[in-house]
Amino acid sequence: MAFISSGYNPAKPMEGRITDIGPREFTEFLPPVIKANKGKWAYHEILEPGVLVHVGESGDKVFTVRVGAARLMSVTHIREICEIADKHCDGYLRFTTRNNVEFMTDSEDKVAALKADLAARKFDGGSSKFPVGGTGAGVSNIVHTQGWVHCHTPATDASGPVKAVMDTVFSDFQNHRLPAPVRISLACCLNMCGAVHCSDIGIVGIHRKPPMIDHEWTDQLCEIPLAVASCPTAAVRPSKVELEGKKINTIAIKNERCMYCGNCYTMCPALPISDGEGDGVVIMVGGKVSNRISQPKFSKVVVAYIPNETPRWPTLTEKIKHIIDIYADHAMKYERLGDWIERIGWEKFFELTGLEFTQHLIDDFRDHAYYTWRQTTQFKF
């Protein structure tokens, strides 16, 4: 491909440079009915899964159709979203904080045409391009990360498992059978980009082996004190080794102190940790961010390891589906997954779901671990 200049002059990089202009003001893209009623909404209703109506104090209505999206999408797909918005919504649309797409119209008859159009659109492989849903007490989109598509520290993939899990729980995306919304998130390493630490169900990629040490390059590529300070268990220390008759500065790792978090690889490229057989995922449950009834909660680890089973992660998807089904059968209305577990007790949760309780689930990180043990005789057999 021939080079096509945008007008930027590499010889004078600062000439004509525009900076610090920030994002476009959101009001530039508001549909007229939203602009007119901004700050004056009276109430809203969920008409059916995926379709909302908001009614303004003036009596104006806006109908919202929420559709699932893969988050990672091509420009072709975005153009198709724009085409739909042009056809039904005067060119307006929005993305939600869970990366769903919302099409908004101001009359009910347009909704039927929009829904029929969305339902007819499928990829060549057969997947819905724009499945309607994601509202109310169901399972909405999965907040997820980069995985093997773009990141260098993952222990699992993101897009792949998310597709596998959403396929398994798809019926819950399109209806409201659950006691409360179930938020599922995925992070491909313990950096936990996104929302796994505060989701009803969190999927996190983990390693199970300590990093390898590329002694030849450690002192060249890394700022060794940073690697030492990056270790939460102080397993990393500076040391010297002899390589080809030369004493060089490098790093030593106490394997029995290492819990394979991979932080040191983030800071130092000479400490790769990823491993095909060792890596896998953990499942965490019971987190939430809302203040509704109970305070926000962290999610807790309930499955210590599931291997990466590309491309469909069958063990992972089967376990998640099972947890959701048991929760749906037992929890009371409005009870989030974490609220339900705290009411029935963790031993009951493990009994109902049949998940195995292993020593890995017992907190052993610093003083605070003590507060997660049981200092009472209140316990169910």
């Binding site: 600062m14 950096n191 590529l221 004190p225 800071m267």
Partner: protein, 105 residues
């Protein structure tokens, strides 16, 4: 890894143009990099920052935090950017021969 030859010297660099080995740094390196970093002439102020980065790295084994760089050289972050348009990490550290910044950057 790529090798660069400039004025009779060779440098091993990575794909972002950072020196692989701090010992390979020499004044010619600064001369070679400055163009790709949008710098036409190395002034005394540039040199002051480069010298401080190198001293700090030799002494401590890490690059200084931005606040320490500012405090010791007397240049506010805005001035650092005026001197090194790509900033203290990608610009100044690269020219000084320090390892590539890591972490969630």
């Amino acid at each position: 890894m790529a090798e660069i030859t400039y004025e009779g010297k060779t440098f091993e660099v990575d794909e972002d143009g950072f020196l692989l080995k701090f010992e390979e740094w020499c004044p010619e390196w600064v001369d070679y990099v400055k163009e790709s970093e949008g710098i036409s002439e190395i002034s005394e102020d540039h040199q002051k920052i480069l010298d401080f980065l190198q001293d700090y790295y030799r002494k401590n084994g890490i690059a200084p935090m931005v606040r320490i760089l500012s405090k010791n050289t007397g240049f506010k972050l805005k001035q650092v950017y005026e001197l090194f348009p790509s900033g203290p990490g990608k610009g100044a550290c690269k020219m000084a021969g320090l390892p590539k910044p890591t972490g969630c950057v």
